[in-house]
């Protein structure tokens, strides 16, 4: 048998047992070498890792930037970057499980929470020094050398957001105006409130329901209590429920959120109590249907068709269900009063309801129905606020026109930008 010249010596040329042993030893030695680095060159590291406090936050974020690895290019050696963090320069460093794709030269370290809400990486704490390292990860998991940050980074909290000064000024001016008119009203000064047809009709609608012996249906929108329109709807519910109690009619309040149902139930109960008719309160009339948008619509439509209410109130936040509800209500012949601040749903309510409270009127309704001087005073303040806005719009339009003619003249756009 001719001997092989050069090349890899064949293991089978010796005794079979010794050959097998050699194979096992070789495999063991290979297993000690990290397989990931086998045959793959390490990419060159990123450089110039810099860090700074993330601006305008509560001191729990650090902004990191670096210069890309020279091997970070299409078809290059870099696959992604890895960040390491420590509170001491000498370590130990914890590897952060962020996946930073190639081509990225910045990252905001703000900790990480998984889909179950469990903290995977703690966020940087306020006023603690942090050190970072960055590594480029190559093909097959080969790691570059580390690039250490130049000095520690400290996250600090900011006590004031300078980008919101304009908003603060506007809020203060508006609040002062409203408070001024509330104060004027509390002194007994006569204030003129423009009549709102939709609210004038509330009493008429409840009266009609009483005469017909049919219930009043009140829908406080489909959103939860963290929505200001729902809050406005629930405050109006208090007024309507009191009138209903005084007229000895029934009120049905199907809710799409259980928290709204809980609060609506208390509001109606208190309204009956205030009207001196706690015995007439029927807790079963305030019911939870479902959180599902169209499931709720189906449920309310079913109530309308079975109970045939004489007056329907839709006051709160509505989306695509607005027209389905209002058209079903119209088909059962109910007087319908709607109110929302959703511009996209207002046309549907205008088309299908008898009266519609548009935008601000929804928020004014409870105060208007209360007839209480202090509450009415706030409405006057609100109207004055509107006048100020109107003046700003006119002045802004004039300046914008001149700005088109001469861009260097004056720019007030930045005054109204909110960060």
């Amino acid at each position: 048998m001719p001997k092989r010249k050069g090349g890899i010596p064949t293991l089978t040329s010796k005794a079979p047992t010794a050959g097998l042993l050699s194979v096992m030893v070789a495999l063991f030695v290979f297993s000690l070498v990290p397989t990931v680095t086998w045959g793959q060159p390490a990419p060159r590291p990123p450089t110039n890792l810099q860090g700074e406090d993330f601006p305008l936050d509560d001191g729990r974020r650090i902004q990191l930037t670096w210069a890309l690895s020279p091997d970070d290019r299409e078809g290059g050696l870099v696959e992604e970057y890895i960040l390491l963090r420590s509170t001491k320069e000498e370590g130990p460093y914890t590897e952060l499980p962020y996946s930073i794709p190639l081509g990225s030269d910045s990252y905001v370290d703000s900790g990480e929470v998984d889909e179950n809400g469990v903290t995977v990486v703690e966020e940087p704490r306020n006023n603690i020094k942090f050190y970072y390292k960055i590594i480029a990860l190559g093909k097959g998991g080969v790691r570059s050398e580390e690039c250490l940050i130049d000095g520690p980074v400290v996250a600090t909290r900011q006590w004031f957001h300078p980008g919101r000064v304009n908003m603060l000024v506007a809020s203060i001016v508006l609040s002062l105006l409203i408070l001024f008119f509330i104060w004027q009203a509390s002194l007994g000064k006569e204030l003129y409130i423009r009549p709102l047809a939709g609210l004038e009709a509330v009493q008429e609608a409840i009266g009609r329901a009483t005469e017909m012996g049919k219930p009043v249906l009140f829908i406080p929108g489909i959103m939860d209590m963290d929505d200001i329109q729902t809050i406005a709807g629930v405050t109006i519910l208090g007024r309507v429920a009191r009138m209903v109690a005084e007229y000895d009619a029934d009120i049905l309040v199907p809710c799409s959120r259980s928290l709204v149902m809980t609060i609506a139930s208390e509001v109606v109960r208190e309204a009956y109590l205030d009207a001196g008719r706690p015995d007439a309160f029927k807790p079963d009339n305030i019911r939870y249907l479902t959180d599902d948008q169209f499931g709720y619509v189906a449920g309310v439509d079913g109530i309308m068709l079975r109970e045939r209410p004489a007056a329907n109130f839709y006051l709160g936040t509505f989306y695509a269900e607005s027209l389905i509800l209002a058209e079903t209500g119209a088909s059962v012949g109910a007087i319908q009063i709607a109110g929302t601040a959703m511009p996209s749903q207002l046309p549907f309510f205008v088309a299908a309801c008898d009266y519609t409270l548009i935008g601000e009127e929804l928020f004014a309704a409870s105060a208007y129905l209360s007839k209480e001087p202090k509450q009415l005073g706030s409405l006057v303040g609100q109207d004055w606020g509107k006048l100020i806005f109107l003046l700003f719009i006119i002045i802004g339009s004039i300046i914008a026109i001149f700005n088109q003619l001469n861009p260097d003249l004056i720019s007030i756009k930045s005054w109204f930008e909110i960060q």
């Binding site: 109006i236 609060i263 189906a298 601040a341 549907f348 929804l362 509450q375 706030s378 606020g385 806005f389």
Partner: protein, 206 residues
């Protein structure tokens, strides 16, 4: 005390949310309040579930009008809950039921909108007064301007799509913004009334 304590809670919680908007340092407190809200909402969900179950069981027991519909409702409620507890919500019968029953039924309700739009439009576009005439004209232009027939044949010369764009970008946008500005002012006013305890209708007090 029964009224003052809730008012104090409302004032403190409301002020924290306002202050946080202008001072990022208060974000952790605001987040804590938001988490509390979620906890409260979860408890309220149990109440909602109890309310739904009780009312429907009562309806079946008393054989009130439409009681028969309460049976599939309760079976569906219990069935979906059991499926999710046993098989999870990522796969298995829960997902199958959701995709093959919930979604088609929701889509069916949503599709009713097409018919309701037609009936509401018919009512809204009756030219009874000059505002309704304006609405009708604008609606016809916008409708024709957004479909191919609006630029076909002689109508090409009317440039309806340009007029549509103008209507949407100027009169329509101006109206929407006016509503938004008014609503923002209304939000400030109602928030102040609630924070200062002037508006107490939600506590059942005038």
């Amino acid at each position: 005390m029964k009224k003052q304590f809730p008012l104090a809670i409302v004032f403190i919680a409301g002020m924290i949310f306002i202050v946080q908007f202008f001072s990022p340092a208060f974000t952790p407190i605001q987040e804590r309040f938001t988490h509390w809200y979620i906890v409260v909402a979860v408890f309220a969900f149990v109440l909602g579930l109890a309310n739904l179950t009780r009312l429907n069981l009562q309806k079946i027991h008393r054989q009130q009008e439409g009681w028969i519909y309460s049976i599939p409702l309760l079976i569906g409620l219990a069935g979906m809950a059991l499926c999710s507890f046993i098989f999870g919500i990522e796969e298995g019968p829960f997902v199958w039921l959701f995709n093959n029953m919930m979604l088609p039924m929701s889509a069916t309700m949503f599709s009713l909108l097409a018919f309701f739009v037609a009936s509401a439009s018919y009512r809204a576009f009756r030219a009874r007064h000059k505002e309704a005439v304006m609405l009708l004209v604008a609606a016809v232009i916008v409708m024709l301007g957004q479909v191919p027939i609006g630029s076909a044949g002689f109508m090409e010369h009317l440039r309806l799509s340009d007029i549509t764009q103008w209507i949407m970008a100027y009169p329509n946008m101006a109206g929407q913004r006016a509503i938004m500005i008014g609503a923002a002012l209304g939000v400030v006013a109602i928030s102040l009334r609630i924070l200062l305890g002037i508006e107490r209708a939600y506590l059942g007090e005038d």
